[in-house]
């Protein structure tokens, strides 16, 4: 494990994979798996456009946009956390990681509220093909987000304790969080905007 305490020079930064290179296997494999889910959704959507549109009309685009901005902001925050940690500004880095976790929780709360709204309105996992995909994709994403909260917890634990500080682990965890973020960006576009 390498511990980078001092800010690296421009030259050293130029050729470095952030975090464990191994993490990129997860990023790439998960993106492919999700792409296959998206492909299945689009394949059936293209065949039953009217039915999908009718159910899709019950989604609130504004809520989706707020969700997306919340998650993008959390991603921004964790990216700053990585930079602060790299520069040795640990209190700031811990604060950024906590902001990330808080925004993640806010996203989750918004999602739960949204699910509850749909379910009370009678739109459930089994009520129609669009809502099946909607619940499937949002829930599986939420599972990733929950794992992400554990991961951000690891970042906080690492940064708060001087003996544990390990830049590579922080960067690896940040990479995971960004993956959760960009998967949501795709899910948002496909569920809320696609026509």
């Amino acid at each position: 494990m390498t511990t980078t305490q001092a800010p690296p020079t421009e030259a050293a930064k130029a050729r470095r994979v952030p975090g464990q290179p191994d993490m990129w296997v997860l990023v790439l494999v998960e993106s492919l798996i999700f792409t296959s889910y998206f492909g299945v959704y689009l394949f059936y959507r293209a065949q039953h456009e009217a039915a999908f549109l009718q159910e899709q009309a019950h989604l609130d685009l504004w809520l989706g946009i707020v969700d997306t901005i919340v998650l993008l902001t959390s991603s921004w925050s964790v990216a700053r956390c990585v930079q602060n940690a790299r520069a040795g500004r640990y209190p700031a880095a811990v604060r950024d990681a906590c902001v990330t976790a808080a925004l993640g929780l806010l996203f989750l709360a918004l999602k739960i509220a949204e699910w509850a709204g749909h379910i009370t309105a009678g739109h459930t996992l089994t009520s129609g093909e669009f809502f099946t995909h909607y619940f499937f994709l949002t829930v599986i994403h939420a599972v990733h987000l929950l794992i992400g909260l554990v991961v951000v917890g690891i970042v906080v634990r690492q940064l708060a304790d001087p003996r544990r500080r390990d830049q590579q682990v922080v960067e690896t965890c940040a990479t995971y969080w960004h993956t959760v973020d960009f998967l949501w960006v795709l899910i948002f576009a496909l569920l809320y905007v696609a026509r």
């Binding site: 191994d22 997860l26 494999v29 998960e30 299945v40 099946t132 499937f136 599986i140 794992i147």
Partner: protein, 257 residues
């Protein structure tokens, strides 16, 4: 451990296990994909009237194939044992190793013994009431596909062990691949809810995508287990690197000589 008689390969037990693992997965593939044709699974949307037809067209294959599993299914213990051993070799608590051992041993009964019993019972009495045949059909496929928790938690246990390990027993990326496999177990859950479409037990998402991920995962870990056996030095510290191919062949020749 006891001192060893000279001239014997200290890794013979590990190699024995590895070849048994290889044999078991071949057998599994042949039985479920070729002989019984239960993979890809039969359709969950069959009505009670259609199920007896499925049993009739699969009759001989089911009985012979499942009988092979009844006889040789216990070989599954070898992959569990070998993986448990590799976790024990890591710099983590043995609790991880023993958790893995018990999780997967327990999963054997609902994971593949139930489908064998249910489909054998169905194939044995084709004249049974079609509604009961459908009941057996559901029991078979849902117990087989729908045993999720042990594989979910099992993959997570393995993942945690690999990521915490400092003995480099498995590459870290395989730890992350375990997470991908664990998440696909979550995706099987809708198979308990839908009897048609992409989320049903034979659906694109709940079956095809999962089987591809699981197939890759299995292929990868069988290969990695082989590398671990080659690298094993029976110490307690980090495992050495995989020797280059040429050197490996050389030592193998020397061992034979």
């Amino acid at each position: 451990m006891r001192p060893f008689a000279r001239g014997e390969n200290p890794k013979r037990e590990l190699w024995l296990m590895w070849f048994a693992v290889l044999a078991f997965y071949q057998l599994y593939t042949v039985v479920f994909f070729v002989l019984t044709r239960t993979q890809p699974p039969g359709s969950p949307s069959y009505t009670a009237a259609e199920v007896p037809g499925w049993f009739a067209s699969h009759h001989d294959g089911l009985l012979v194939g499942l009988a092979l599993i009844f006889v040789l299914g216990g070989l599954s213990a070898t992959s569990i044992a070998l993986i448990t051993y590799t976790i024990r070799r890591m710099s983590v608590s043995r609790a991880f190793a023993y958790s893995y051992l018990i999780l997967y041993s327990v999963s054997a009964v609902p994971g593949f013994l139930f489908i064998c019993v249910a489909l054998t019972a169905g194939a044995m009495r084709p004249e049974r009431d079609p509604r009961l045949q459908q009941w057996l059909y559901d029991l078979g496929f849902l117990s087989f596909s729908g045993t999720m928790g042990v594989f979910l938690v099992g993959s997570l246990v393995w993942m945690a062990a690999i990521l915490l390990d400092r003995n480099r027993v498995f590459p870290k990326w395989f730890g992350y691949l375990n997470l991908c496999n664990a998440v696909t177990e979550v995706v099987v859950a809708p198979a308990w809810i839908f009897d048609r479409g992409v989320f049903a037990w034979n659906g694109l998402i709940a079956w095809w995508i999962n089987v591809v991920v699981f197939g890759i995962y299995t292929g990868v870990f069988i290969n990695l287990l082989r590398n671990v056996i080659i690298r094993e030095d029976f110490g307690t510290g980090p495992l050495p690197d995989l020797p280059p191919r040429r050197a490996r062949r050389h030592t193998a020749a020397a061992e034979v000589a």
